[in-house]
Symmetry: C2
Subunit: 653 residues, 2 copies
């Protein structure tokens, strides 16, 4: 593990301006601390060291220092590299007889043992400086050394560790946390959240209020964990968000609320979701959509890491309808083009059967995207896999057309595209030599969604070939607005359900439609999208009890009694209010470029929801369930269930 870790470290050292790759210890501390426009934290207050390993420079020459850290490695029993969270420093092991005991300690302690050394900061001999190491100009001439804890055993051969599965990293998380990447991720997370708090609390008067997590099941809260109480048959549940509480705080006159809130969602096994996650939860009174958006733009700008390019505000905004039409999704990745173009008009008189069929239907459209240099980089099997994706996920036929490229394997159907149509396509889609056009037909939403998915698939394929489409240093924020307020229920499309949640206010222009054509009502919901991921969502809420009751009872046909406390609160002088929640884990994942949200969480669960280190969840003796008046209903076929269980000796991945 640590030799590889070291090579990563040196690699990073040699690229101090690299943005998306693991950063070095020295750079870490500088970028997070020195340039944050605050007083530099005292990192050695209250403890047994005078300095951190990583901070020593030529300016410390001659100083007597005491350091505490881990033995990173030794060179020929002459040099020892000592590590702490702040970096590495070279310690010279004394060779003279009088220091035999110091030498013994420093030479005999296994790697990763914890030692305290005191000595003098001296210059390295000329020619021995290491410019790749932030402390590379100096070394420590040791006077005393103390073994604080010996590393008795590491659970696996160190060299093999970085090749280990994520499951093994999670099982020995306390070792994984020593890596520079995890240190960087967790420290950056802490500092960004701190800056968000400063912005909200100190600059804008928000009040940090803690809301309960032992709550009551919300209507339709099928994804809420339940917690048995000591009263028979009565359960708390862990809420998916503090939604009700933050609205009640507005009714209570708190005016501006925020919370870094722990939320819970039981979705079973999902690769990149966590059963508990964190959101920056915000609510304000007397605010409109623009107000919330400005607040959040300021928040992101204020808390943005100093080692990234500054964020430009305001963020662009797009309606849900535009996002769907141009990107086939409600969370467009606007770092690159390849937008969807409606080419229905081109094909009004086509001879291509499936286009004809599509256009003859009332909502029929023909859509296309142009993949730059697709003809050059996409192989036949890529095109086949693209067509298969569209067929499998959307039952959509997709036609690749090489309008200018001289490809032999152009599809026979494509040949039916007449010259004039081809020219119009080239103009509409701005087709270049070597581009390929993907063309599909059908109902607007389905056609767009398929092309939206293919757009991302093609981007992956092109990037696998070395084309840079999505600059990893680019952070493209986008507001998506004007969502529909309701959606047809999947299981019964004649009934409506909330597109987001039932407290979302309708768009002011659409209120009258509520009573006639509710399916056409747009909402005052807004999503914040970053690089194609939804990192936040919120809305202006309903503050009128009558309207809320009408939507709950008449449109959504929910049991109004379950929310009687909220309806009653709205009747007691509720101010107009709105808010937003930002998904902190996903935001940090995107900013650090981590492959998974598990890399920005100190102790994440596996994708099956297990803590692989402690082996949670675990069995509980029946007598400990008694006070809660519950018993386990063992499945009738225990063998079948057993296969779904996880053992630490069979780690997941």
């Amino acid at each position: 593990m640590f030799s590889c870790w070291l090579s990563r470290l040196y690699w990073a050292l040699s690229k101090p301006t690299g943005r998306t790759k693991p950063l070095i210890w020295g750079f870490l501390s500088r970028s997070l601390v020195l340039s944050s426009q605050r007083r530099i934290p005292e990192l050695s207050s209250f403890v047994a060291r005078t300095n951190t390993c990583g901070e020593l420079r030529s300016s410390h020459l001659g100083q007597e220092v005491t350091l505490c850290g881990w033995i990173q490695y030794r060179r020929q029993n002459i040099f020892l590299i000592l590590r702490d969270f702040n970096g590495l420093v070279q310690v010279v092991i004394p060779q003279d007889e009088s220091a035999a005991s110091v030498k013994k300690i420093l030479c005999e302690a296994p790697v990763e043992s914890v030692v305290q050394v005191s000595g003098i900061v001296i210059s390295r001999p000329p020619g021995q400086e290491n410019p790749k190491m932030p402390t590379g100009e100096i070394e420590i001439k040791v006077k005393t050394a103390k073994l604080l804890n010996s590393c008795k055993k590491l659970p696996f051969e160190i060299k093999d560790f970085v090749k280990k599965t994520e499951a093994l990293r999670l099982q020995y998380r306390y070792l994984d946390l020593r890596s520079s990447q995890m240190q960087y991720n967790l420290r950056l997370r802490s500092q960004m959240v701190m800056k968000m708090r400063e912005y909200l609390c100190n600059l804008h008067g928000f009040v940090d209020v803690e809301t309960p997590t032992l709550f009551k099941r919300t209507p339709g809260g099928a994804k809420e964990f339940v917690i048995p109480s000591r009263e028979p048959g009565k359960f708390y549940s862990l809420p998916q968000s503090p939604q009700q509480f933050k609205q009640l705080l507005m009714v209570g006159g708190l005016d501006r609320y925020f919370q870094v809130a722990r939320c819970y969602r039981d979705e079973g096994s999902r690769p990149d979701r966590q059963p508990e996650f964190t959101q920056i939860d915000i609510e304000m009174s007397f605010v409109d959509q623009t107000g919330i958006q400005s607040l959040i733009e300021g928040l992101v700008q204020y808390s943005w890491p100093n080692d990234k390019d500054p964020v430009v505000v305001p963020f662009p905004s797009m309606t849900f309808a535009e996002a769907l039409a141009s990107y086939g999704t409600d969370k467009p990745d606007t770092r690159f083009g390849m937008k969807i173009v409606d080419i229905s008009d081109v094909f009004r008189n086509t001879e291509v059967r499936f286009l004809q069929d599509a256009l003859s239907k009332p909502q029929g459209t023909v859509k296309a995207i142009c993949i730059p240099e697709g003809a050059k980089y996409l192989k036949r099997k890529d095109i086949e896999s693209i067509r298969k994706s569209a067929a499998d996920r959307f039952k959509q036929e997709v036609l690749p057309v090489f309008l200018k490229a001289s490809r032999k394997w152009n599809s026979p159907v494509a040949k039916l595209i007449m010259e004039e149509q081809g020219l119009r396509l080239i103009r509409l889609l701005e087709v270049q030599e070597e581009d390929v056009v993907l063309l599909t037909a059908g109902e607007h939403e389905k056609a767009c969604s398929s092309l939206g998915m293919l757009r991302l698939e093609c981007a992956d394929l092109l990037e696998a070939e070395g084309v840079v489409l999505r600059d990893p240093a680019l952070f493209s924020f986008l507001w998506v607005v004007d969502f529909p307020l309701f959606l047809p229920k999947e299981e019964n499309p004649k009934e409506l359900e909330s597109a987001h949640h039932p407290f979302t206010a309708p768009h002011p222009s659409d209120v009258r439609l509520l009573y006639t054509e509710p399916q056409k009502v747009r909402s005052q919901h807004y999503d914040l999208v970053l690089n194609g991921s939804e990192i936040g969502g919120g809305s202006i809420r309903i503050h009128d009890a009558e309207l809320q009751r009408y939507i709950l009872a008449t449109i959504l046909k929910e049991d109004v009694d379950l929310l009687s406390h909220l309806l009653q609160a709205l009747d007691c002088g509720a101010p107009p209010h709105g808010g937003i929640a930002l998904g902190l884990d996903r935001l940090m994942c995107l900013i650090t470029g981590a492959p998974s949200i598990r890399d920005v969480i100190a102790f994440p669960k596996s994708f099956r929801g297990h803590d692989l280190m402690s082996n949670a969840p675990d069995s509980i003796p029946p007598e400990e369930l008694k006070p809660y008046h519950i018993q386990v209903s063992w499945p009738t076929d225990p063998e079948a269930e057993k296969s779904s269980l996880n053992h630490p000796c069979h780690p997941e991945s």
Copy 2:
């Protein structure tokens, strides 16, 4: 509610320097914001107002302002008092014909309706200024008004509300939150926590790390809520503290961790405990007891509210043995004297039988406290109730002695105290005229504990008579140190259990006793006590795996397998480390002088653990329990159980 609230407000206004009573809106914002050495927050950014109601002064004269707030009350349809979180302001209702619509809105909206008004800040006519109101020099000449939400009904007559039970306050918490006291408590809490974060994160380089709350049951964790998972028979549990995680973070090299951590404890019904509570959780590597203590002293000093007298550091320190001997408790209230004095030597030759008996035993002692002016203020029934308390709770006989007072009803036994003994007592206890001495005898700990309890009882009795013993403006911090590491188990005194938790390190001077007389080993645990309440506790932890294993397996006889991950971590190069946790709810309760921790929590549970607003915990349909493989074990005598259930129509109190 609001008329009483207003009278409280005016009462507070007339005593702007009062420390322990509800503070006024204007004073609130000034004390929390202006003097906190930070930039003043912009309280009206992003919203539909230009100013808050409470901030307007003569310096705003002539400005056109827009305000949003609640109608506090009206005077003769000429004046309207508008309220927001920041205070009250007088609005002049226009009387001329041309403003009829504005007049209509402002005169017809019920009290507690939400309105937006725009107008000009003008001087009140000479003689009409209200010096008791921070905005009392000005009023608003309204131009436009808008009814934002009408208050349709309040759930009870407003005037009656403040007389309502706490249960009713909790049921309509969103109304209760509008009170100046709740606003003050929640805003002060937010600001103190923010200052703590600044101190830890910005000044001392601590990293805010979120640790999981879905965890594994800890050994002996009988008070942990359980959460069924989707795997049959497997449960998460909600931990009582992040203890294991914070230690693992130290093993992971995080160096300095803190978290404002949500913790859970299922203790059933307890009057002043909450099933979920918050602690300021801290852990550091390479630190000793002194380091943690200095850190916390700095933390309290830095975050201390500006409207209180500054905190003096360092805090005094006392060993557990001293605390027990002098105060009869491990959390002495050092705001007043009445210390316990050992007077065994005085009575070596006594004729009083129960003292003779006590002193003849090996651990026998005689102890006393002197109650200043007790003879003046304590009635015969008080003395009787004191003696009864000692008998009921400790089976201790207590003898009241009036050494200098000429009381008729002195006990006959007391007359046996010879003159010479009396004089020695007067000297030892510094007895004054009118004092009363309470005397008891027996084993040291029991005698001290009884007198410790009586000391507090007597303080209550004296204060009920108007004697000021515990100045409410005084905050007496105290460290209690050198606790025993183990205590005999209550159910089996031959076995030992941890006095705090099994990760606490032994006192360095006592390590050798671990293997011979473990019951004599002192620990490196420390408690922080404020005014007789424990507000924090922590320790230096064991970082040696062998020692930890010995204590767990050999001394405590715990199942070591349940903690194998922690033991393994200690073997992988764990640094020496220690930490502390401060109980935020209790700290805020003491600082605000609130009668209960429920007054410093936005949405607390009742003492039975219910959310009276939403009626949680609640029933869940059996089919929603199926995914969790549990079923309710209904008690065989449902009638008996029913009486323990709580209905919103039968509120608790």
